[in-house]
Amino acid sequence: MNIDRRDFLKLLGMGGAILVLGQRGSADAADMTAGKDDFFFVQLSDTHWGFNDPKINPDAMETLKKAIAGGNSMKIQPDFVVFTGDITHTTDDAKERRKRMSEARDIISGLKVKNVKFMAGEHDAGLDNGEAFQEYFGKTHYTFDYKGVHFIVIDNVSDPTSSITDPQLQWLSDELKKLDKESRIVVLTHRPLFDLYPNWDWWTRDGAKAIDLLLPYKKVTVLYGHIHQEHHHMTGHIPHHAAKGLMFPLPAPGSVPKRVPMPWDPAAPYKGLGYRGIEAKMDKADYIITEFPVQKG
């Protein structure tokens, strides 16, 4: 595959908007060519399957399905798809929790791409330490490699305190020791690792310890969810990119007294919802992030 950026978006056929270019932080039209080892993956987040409030999302039963259909309609299919947590909306009923997970998994299985990676959110895993999640979606922290990029999935939700916890931090430390400091690393997680807005619980209690472990590595990018909106932040040289959700948007941090879902806007259905494509540029150690709406518009 050797295409330029305009062709790439045209081929995707999604009308997406490039809002961020990866680690180097600025768009450079001259770099918009794809090398043979470049790859492309899609991040979906906070699908909250099982959520039911028509004032917030009257199309709750269809939004995830529309996103799946959107992904399937991409003319260039992603190499893989990642779900960064809160796949299901929480419930106290363990039987209902499993039903929601089963239904979500069935819907997601409709993706043409079969290489799908799952992360847990506190709605999936916070009430049972990830027990049901693991039954349906597998481990909550793990690593995988793709074309020379090392992906690390960090679980910051299964512990009731929304912490990574010391055993997992030790695991992270051990994993990182296997890597060269020049290794390309993408961290996938649910909650922000940094103190985005602690008053709304938008942080990870021991996230700074994970960042400290990652800082010696020169090519690290963090992708996460949880806050249901795009957000971009740097801790040192490490960029952190939050994704939109697929059930309801949340207000900007601290912009309103309470972090409650934003109501549905009939004049602009699906406003604030969406998913993203991430193009990994191998020659530049860079990522191009493209945001896609739920519906073409």
Partner: protein
């Protein structure tokens, strides 16, 4: 019923010294610590708006009516406590200055957890 006591001061190093001083001063002035009884249940604190005075220790006595909940005030040095059913959890707060401080449950407790919040209004 068991009683656990969490004494939390802000900022910790400074307030450890200041706490002793203020406690002494409060005792000298005859000011008693303010005790506030608070219940926690899915997904609310009651009361969820609490008024206290600067420089006077306020003791929050938490009781959970259902499950384990959390309590944290990020802008007061990140103080926190775990509120377990069947016992009283005491948190002593000494607010350094007047203002409004938000608190919330920081142990995920279910659908509605995100709305389990309150505020402490500190007055001179």
């Amino acid at each position: 019923m068991k009683i656990s006591r969490v004494i939390i001061m802000f900022p910790l190093a400074f307030m450890m010294a200041a706490f002793a001083v203020v406690t002494y001063a409060a005792d000298q002035a005859g000011q008693q610590e303010q005790v506030v009884k608070i219940t926690a249940k899915k997904f609310e604190y009651s009361p969820n708006e609490i008024r206290i005075k600067t420089g006077v220790p306020a003791v929050f006595e938490f009781t959970s009516l259902d499950r384990v909940h959390g309590f944290t005030v990020p802008d007061l040095g990140g103080i926190r406590a775990t509120i377990e059913p069947g016992k009283v959890t005491r948190v002593t707060i000494l607010a350094p200055k007047a203002g409004t401080y938000e608190f919330h449950c920081d142990l995920f407790c279910g659908d509605g957890h995100e709305g389990m919040t309150g505020k402490i209004i500190v007055e001179d």
